[in-house]
Amino acid sequence: MPLDTVKNIVLVLSGKGGVGKSSITTQLALTLSLQGHSVGVLDIDLTGPSIPRFFGIEDSKVRQAPGGWIPVPVHDAQAPLSPRDSTTTTAQNSIGALSCMSLGFILSSRSDAVIWRGPKKTAMVRQFLSDVLWPDNLDYLLIDTPPGTSDEHISLLETLLKTCTPSQLSGAVVVTTPQAISISDVKKELNFCKKVGLRVLGVVENMAGFICPNCSECTNVFSKGGGEIMAKEFEVPFLGSIPIDPAFVYLIEEGIRPVYPQGTVIAGKEVGSQDQEKPTSFSANGHVSKEQTSGLLVDKYRSCSLSPLFDGIVSTLVTDIASRRAVS
C-alpha cells in the first residue's frame, strides 16, 4: 500500500462550502513545508477541485509509473531560504518537499464538469488512496475534502480506517467561518467526526474580519468569535482565527508577493512594510514588478501576513500529533 510509509494523515473538513478548506489546506501545507516537513496534498473534491489552482500548477499533468500515479511536485526539498523574518521558526529550517494529487490534473480541460454519481466517486476516492505513489517517508499527508458528509467522506473514512494504523491517522482540522449559518453546518461535521471516531485536532475560524487595505481598519464581514464558542461547546481545541487577507488572494491568483500599507496590524503584529510609502502597489495601474512575481510560492508566502498565524497553528498541531504518538 502506498499509504504505508506516510507518517501522519490529516484531514481538512467542513460541513459548509466556500469557507476556505482548500485555502487552509494550502497554507497548512506551505507552512509545514517551511518548517521542514515533507508534505503531500490529496484533493478529493471531485466535482470542484481547486488545489491545482491554489498551488499554481493547473497545467501540470500526473505521470503514470509502474504501480501507480506520481503526484505533481510543487517544489523539492531545499536548503533554507534567506531569512526574511527572524521571529518565526521557519527561518532556520530547510524546506520540505511538497507534492499534490487532484482530479484536476487528470481532466483534459479545466472547465470540464465531472458529473458523477456516488458509486463512481467512491471508486475514484479509493483509487486516489491506493494508487498514488507518495514519496517515501512522507511526514504529512493533508487531505482536502468537498463540503458535506456524503459519498466522498464515507468512502475516505472507510478506506482510511481499514488500511491505516491509528497512529497514522492523526485526525481532522475543521474549518468554519464565524457566522451562525456556517457554524450550524460545521456542527454537523463535528458530529460526523464523533460518529466515525475521528479525532478533531482543532477548529480554525477563517474569514474572521477583513483588513481594509486602504485604512487598515479591521471589519468583521462575517461577524466574529463563533468558531471559538463552537469549539468550546464540542470540547475540541480552537486553533485560531484567520482574517481575510486580499493580499493572499492576489498571491494565489496572480503570484504577487504580498505587500502591506504601513500601519497594518494583524494579530498584534506590525506587518506593514516600513520602506514602502505607497499602499499596495499592485492593481492600481496593472503594473507589477518582476521582483514581486518571481520566486517560489513557498518563499513568497512568507511575506504574507497570514504566515505567522499559520506558523503558530502548525506548531501547535505538530506538537499535539507528536505527543499523541509518544503516548500510543
Binding site: K16, T47, G48, G118, I181, N191, F210, V221, P246
Partner: protein, 340 residues
C-alpha cells in the same frame, strides 16, 4: 405527525465505520472503463460488459424511465415557474441568493399564487435558518407533506425539518439522497405556486442529476448560476455551465455575488475587491460562454447578519445598494422566464 428521519428509519446504524467489511459487497468489482452504467438500456449487454462480474446484476435490473416521474409531473403541474439555483463552488451564496430570490418573488406586485423554496442540500441545509424557521417541523395530511410557511405567501421545504436534533449530521450516500429529493418533489403538497426556487448543494453530482431528471417532464424554466468574482470560484462555475449544457438545462443567467466591499469606516469608504476579479469576473465569463449576465451584488455585512437572524434582508434594508442590486436581478429573472 411530523415525519422524522428517526421514525422513518429504524435501521441500527446505516454506516457502521468500526465494523470490518465482512459482508460481501453487492458490486463485485469496480466498473470497467466503458461501462454503460446500470441505468442504460445496454446495461449488461454492451460489448464492454463482457467479462464484468456485475454483468448479471446489471442485465436484470429494472430499466426505462422511473415510474414516479409522471407522479412528480402531476404534483408540480400547478407550479408555473421552476427555477434552479446552481453553483459549482460552495459558499458563494447559493442559499443566501435563493432566499433573496424567494423573498423577491414573494414581494412582486401582481403575484397570484405563493412562492415555494426547496432546499436540496441534504448534508448542509441552511435555508431554514436563513428563513428563521429552524425549529419548525413538517405536517403530514392525506394530501401529502405540508411545507413550512414563512410568510403567508412563501413556503419552504428542507431536510432540516426532519432531523430530530438540529446538529445531527446526515451521513448519506448518493442513492439515499436521491430518494429524499424524490419524496420532496413527489409527496410535498406545494399546491398552486407562481415560482418554485430550488436551492442545490455545491458540485455536479447526485442531487443535481436527480433534480434535473425528476423535473425534466415537469419542465424547468432554467437555472440561475451564482459565483463570486475570483477565478478559483469561476473555475468551478465554468464546470457548472458545462454541466447545464450536458444536462440540457437552460441557463437564465449568472449573478456575481460578493463583488466589492465598501469599508464601513465613514472616513474611508474605500471599495475593496475582497475577492478580486483577476480574470474579468462573472461578466467576462458570461460573455465568453454566451449566457446572460444578471448583475452584481455587493458584499454587505448586513446580509450575513440578516441571514443569521432569519430575517428578510430586502425588507430590513430596502434602500441599501445590495437590496437594489438584488431587486434588479429578480426583475431580470422574472422577465427572462416571462412571469407576471
Amino acid at each position: 405527525m411530523a415525519p422524522s428521519l428517526e421514525v422513518e428509519e429504524p435501521l441500527p446504524d446505516p454506516i457502521d465505520f468500526s465494523a470490518p467489511l465482512k459482508q460481501a459487497p453487492k458490486l463485485v468489482a469496480p466498473e470497467p472503463e466503458h461501462c454503460p452504467g446500470p441505468e442504460s438500456n445496454l446495461a449488461g449487454t454492451a460489448d464492454s460488459c463482457a467479462g464484468c462480474p456485475n454483468q448479471a446484476i446489471c442485465a436484470s435490473a429494472p430499466k426505462g424511465p422511473d415510474p414516479d416521474i409522471p407522479l412528480i409531473t402531476a404534483r408540480l403541474a400547478d407550479v408555473k415557474h421552476k427555477i434552479l439555483v446552481l453553483s459549482g463552488k460552495g459558499g458563494v451564496g447559493k442559499s443566501t441568493f435563493s432566499t433573496m430570490l424567494a423573498h423577491g418573488f414573494a414581494g412582486l406586485d401582481g403575484l397570484e399564487n405563493p412562492v415555494g423554496l426547496m432546499d436540496t442540500d441534504i448534508c448542509g441545509p441552511s435555508i431554514p435558518k436563513m428563513m428563521g424557521v429552524e425549529d419548525e417541523s413538517i405536517h403530514v395530511s392525506a394530501a401529502g407533506w405540508s411545507p413550512v410557511w414563512v410568510t403567508n405567501n412563501l413556503a419552504v421545504m428542507s431536510v432540516q425539518f426532519m432531523l430530530p436534533n438540529r446538529d445531527d449530521a446526515v451521513i448519506w450516500r448518493g442513492p439515499k439522497k436521491n430518494g429524499l429529493i424524490k419524496t420532496f418533489l413527489k409527496d410535498v403538497e406545494w399546491g398552486e405556486l407562481d415560482y418554485l426556487v430550488v436551492d442545490t448543494p455545491p458540485g455536479t453530482s447526485d442531487e443535481h442529476l436527480s433534480v434535473n431528471s425528476y423535473l425534466k417532464e415537469a419542465g424547468v424554466d432554467g437555472a440561475v448560476l451564482v459565483t463570486t468574482p475570483q477565478e478559483v470560484s469561476l473555475l468551478d462555475v465554468r464546470r457548472e455551465v458545462d454541466f447545464c449544457r450536458k444536462a440540457g438545462i437552460r441557463i437564465l443567467g449568472i449573478v456575481e455575488n460578493m463583488s466589492g466591499f465598501v469599508c464601513p469606516n465613514k472616513k474611508c469608504g474605500y471599495v475593496s475587491q475582497i475577492f478580486r476579479a483577476s480574470t474579468g469576473g462573472a461578466k467576462r465569463l458570461a460573455e465568453d460562454e454566451g449566457i446572460p449576465y444578471l448583475g452584481a451584488v455587493p458584499l454587505d455585512p448586513m446580509i450575513g447578519m440578516a441571514c443569521d437572524f432569519g430575517e428578510s434582508f430586502l425588507d430590513a434594508y430596502p434602500d441599501s445598494p445590495a437590496s437594489k442590486a438584488i431587486r434588479q436581478v429578480v426583475e431580470r429573472v422574472v422577465k427572462t422566464v416571462g412571469g407576471s
